[in-house]
């Protein structure tokens, strides 16, 4: 059998984005010996792409803000099926996590009196997002990285975990491979934190990088942990759509926060014509009021462009379907118009949205200070993930923790912009803390050689076959998911998707790769297929189970919200024969004081 190198850790963190690094920092600070595995180089994780900011009720920009308002906003955005305890912890702890980042060197944009500046974002009642222009994710990941490297953690760059190893019920370690030489690694660990991000690569049009193949979701599922809310995939309303090669690249919500407006081909601001009942009292009913809101007028209500992402994405789809779209199948996002209102408008746009200016200028030959952008929805974020305990982030499996996008609960049916970066910090830290604690209270588990042998055998199998390319199967899966499990769903198509996944799995088991094991992207693509197929089927199965429309999950055959369906979350786990078991879990009753917080905010 092939050889492998062995490493021993108290805590192994899988993933080095915001959540992974936060967990690794906290576990190291609490005295654990920490290993970090990252699929890319350190500092390149998808967190780097986050643009808008970190939602935290610092109440610097508007003193009416506090954790209660943030909590209520998060629950409203998630359509009240969020894990309320996570939403509470998140709203209470996010400000401290932002201040901690500052203590580690992050440099946020400032208010006139020198404090951290906050900006408006969809679904947030007050300006709440601490930010650095439109490159907040870069600032965050670099700060965590530069702080973390001095704490003694060992980082395995360009390594991928293929399987979690268990010892009679509890976690024992992980088995993976490093890309550069193609060698296998055994990473023994008393506790593991999954922080692997999302699943965007299951779709054709996505803002996500190649890494986002649902690894944590799939690893946890196959190890026997339960997944929650897997039907909720967020399609960000504004991705680039032209030219074809940039389709899907994110256009930050910050554009709308700074006054950008959505228009159809007739120049109509269509968002005004469909404002959901539960947001009506908070939403401007005329353009003038909306503009005043973006400029900090505290009496004004927010413009409908800043409604939640699920709603804005569907409105854009409606305009396109009803033939009021832009030439390449999207709508117009116009920030250039603010020059009519601001004397130094063009400079202002470049200062507040430098990467957007850069991105459109270089990739699409568009000067956003002069002309509107063409935008359309793009697969962006996975609300669903590993079911965890709110306080500790531990999964059903003792010693296995999950944080960030691959965990679930905080966001319910729809995530608010800005709540992801704060999620990473708050729950990354908690996962690291409790993983370190678990490692102190539990000894090393034993490793089952048979699990390793089996992993190696299946990992190397594509080299011994002749068959089709893994890229072909990946592309076909992405097209299928885009067409059948996208923004607008219906039962027949979802059933067909499950059937298609079965066929694609069959093909995936026969793909072949050429060359050798050294830095072989083709081999890696073949290995990723298992995870992509697993999460794709789970998404489709969960989507079939939720026979209503709620948040990001929209069913054409059940277009209304069903009050009965507000009472449960959908849980998915693996049966003994490897089958997917879908069940319903009642939403836990909220304590009276939190109910009151929500009532007061209405």
């Amino acid at each position: 059998m092939a050889e492998y190198q062995t490493y021993d850790y108290d805590v192994l963190v899988v993933g080095a984005g915001g959540a992974g690094l936060s967990a690794a920092i906290q576990a190291s600070a609490n005295g654990a010996r920490v290993g970090v595995v990252t699929k890319s180089l350190l500092g390149k994780a998808h967190t780097v792409m986050a643009e808008g900011g970190i939602a935290a009720a610092l109440s610097n920009t508007d003193e009416r803000d506090n954790w209660k308002v943030h909590f209520a906003d998060t629950m409203r955005g998630g359509q009240y099926i969020n894990n309320w305890r996570m939403a509470e912890l998140h709203a209470k702890e996010a400000p401290d996590r932002v201040r901690e980042l500052e203590a580690w060197g992050a440099l946020f944009d400032r208010t006139k009196d020198g404090r951290i500046l906050q900006r408006n974002f969809g679904g947030h009642r007050y300006p709440r997002l601490a930010h650095v222009g439109d490159r907040t994710g870069l600032e965050m990941i670099r700060t965590l990285q530069d702080h973390g490297i001095h704490l003694g953690m060992e980082v395995h760059m360009e390594c991928t975990v293929l399987r979690l190893l268990k010892d009679s019920g509890r976690i024992a370690g992980a088995f993976g491979y490093e890309r550069e030489r193609g060698r296998f690694l055994l990473l023994r660990a008393k506790a593991i934190v999954l922080a692997t991000g999302g699943i965007g690569r299951a779709y054709k049009v996505t803002s996500n990088s190649w890494e986002y193949t649902g690894d944590g979701h799939s690893l946890a599922f196959h190890a026997g942990a339960s997944l929650l809310d897997m039907e909720f995939v967020q399609f960000h309303p504004t991705g680039m759509i032209w030219p074809p090669s940039v389709r899907g690249i994110l256009v930050t919500e910050g554009v709308r926060g700074e006054g950008g407006v959505l228009k159809n081909k007739d120049g109509v601001r269509f968002m005004f014509s469909d404002i959901p009942e539960n947001y009506r009292s908070q939403t401007a009913d005329n353009e003038e009021e909306g503009w005043r809101y973006t400029q900090g007028d505290r009496k004004a209500r927010r413009p409908p462009e800043l409604l939640t992402r699920d709603h804005v994405a569907r409105c854009i789809m409606r305009e396109v379907r009803e033939e009021r779209g832009s030439p390449h199948g999207g709508v117009y996002l116009d920030i250039a118009w603010i020059k009519e209102r601001l004397p130094n408008g063009a400079e202002h746009i470049k200062r507040k949205l430098p990467s957007m200016y850069h991105q459109f200028k270089q990739l699409a030959d568009i000067d956003i200070t002069q002309e509107p952008m063409e935008v359309g929805p793009t697969t962006h974020y996975m609300m669903g993930g590993v079911r965890v305990d709110a306080d500790t982030q531990q999964s059903d499996i003792p010693g296995l923790f999950a944080a960030g996008e691959c965990g679930a609960g905080l966001h319910g049916a729809n995530r608010l912009g800005g709540n992801s970066l704060s999620d990473l910090l708050v729950f990354g830290k908690r996962a690291g803390e409790h993983a370190a604690k678990f490692s102190k209270e539990n000894g090393t588990a034993s490793i089952d050689q048979a699990q390793i042998d089996e992993t190696i055998r299946s990992a190397l199998a594509p080299f011994d076959r002749t068959g089709e390319s893994p890229y072909q199967v990946q592309q076909d899966l992405q097209t299928m998911m885009q067409n059948l499990v996208g923004i607008v769903r219906q039962e027949q198509e979802l059933e067909r998707a499950v059937e298609e996944v079965r066929k694609l799995s069959e093909r995936a088991s026969k793909v072949a790769v050429g060359g050798n094991r050294e830095y072989n992207n083709g081999w890696h693509t073949a290995l990723d297929l298992t995870n992509l197929l697993t999460v794709s089927e789970i998404i489709a199965r969960a989507a079939i189970e939720r026979k209503e429309s709620r948040g990001a999950h929209f069913r054409e055959d059940y277009p209304a919200k069903d009050p009965e369906a507000a009472k449960f979350n959908i849980v998915v786990r693996r049966g003994d024969a490897g089958e997917i078991i879908v069940s319903r879990q009642p939403v836990k009753e909220m304590p009276a004081e939190l109910k009151q917080v929500i009532e007061e905010s209405n």
Binding site: L41, H46, L138, S245, V246, L363, Y471
Partner: protein, 245 residues
């Protein structure tokens, strides 16, 4: 549909050769798109490092027609397509395979730079900073660590002084720390003795290739050199130091 020829370096370690691939091209395409098409259709095992494909992560650095660039931000319509487009790995780092190099030296260098050490918070628990003071450092913090500046720097590329000179990326990093409004650490001695700031002779090649348009030489390196000169070589300061002893 039109097509173009891509002359890509294939091989691992010191062994290798250019190989030509023909790929169809479409409007708006960037070099990384072409590499991906070739990888998916003609060369599954072609090694290439990439992530965001939007110029934000700095993973897909390479030399395109001889210039250090990000593959994801180089539009095909900016290149002469009537002749083959050459794509090679960066030269200042050990080669791994095809377009991938071993950039781990950069991560080791960063650890040798003294970390951020903030002054105490103000009485109300915050730190107050003016936007103008923050702006200066934010320019340096735009860096996406693509290491193209390291690749083009002749001290590293031609003279291979990796053990004596930290390169433009880490001078920018040091400048960001030194000019951080809250930082209290002093890195001047390290800059001079360990990090080789004197090796830079201000040819500004790094500034020219920076995809984030950071004014590396003028705004970061020269001020650092001035600090070193002020502290180490100013005759008055030197006298003070002698008397202090």
């Amino acid at each position: 549909m039109a097509s173009a020829t891509f002359r890509i370096w294939r091989g691992s370690g010191k062994e290798g050769a250019f190989r030509d691939y023909t790929a169809e091209i479409a409007p708006g395409m960037v070099v990384l798109d072409a590499v991906h098409h070739i990888q998916a259709e003609q060369a599954n095992d072609l090694a290439v490092r990439w992530n965001c494909k939007a110029g934000k992560c700095g993973s897909c650095s390479a030399e395109i027609n001889g210039s250090p660039r990000l593959m994801c931000m180089t539009r095909l319509n900016s290149l002469p397509l009537d002749q083959p487009i050459t794509i090679e790995p960066m030269k200042a780092f050990p080669h791994v395979k095809d377009l991938v190099t071993d950039v781990s030296w950069n991560f080791r260098v960063k650890k040798t730079i003294r970390k951020f050490k903030p002054r105490p918070r103000e009485a109300d628990g915050t730190w107050r900073m003016a936007q103008a003071d923050v702006d200066r450092v934010q320019e340096f913090r735009k860096c996406i660590e693509c290491f193209l500046c390291q690749d083009v720097c002749h001290v590293l590329r031609e003279h291979q002084l990796h053990d004596r000179f930290i390169g433009p990326r880490f001078l920018v990093y040091t400048a960001a720390l030194e000019m951080h409004p809250l930082d209290t650490e002093n890195r001047t001695t390290d800059l001079w003795q360990k990090h080789g700031v004197g090796y830079c002779n201000i040819t500004k090649c790094c500034t020219k290739v920076c995809p984030e348009s950071i004014t590396i030489t003028d705004n970061a390196i020269i001020p650092l050199k001035e600090r070193v000169v002020d502290e180490r070589f100013d005759p008055l300061q030197k006298l003070f130091r002698i008397f202090k002893k």
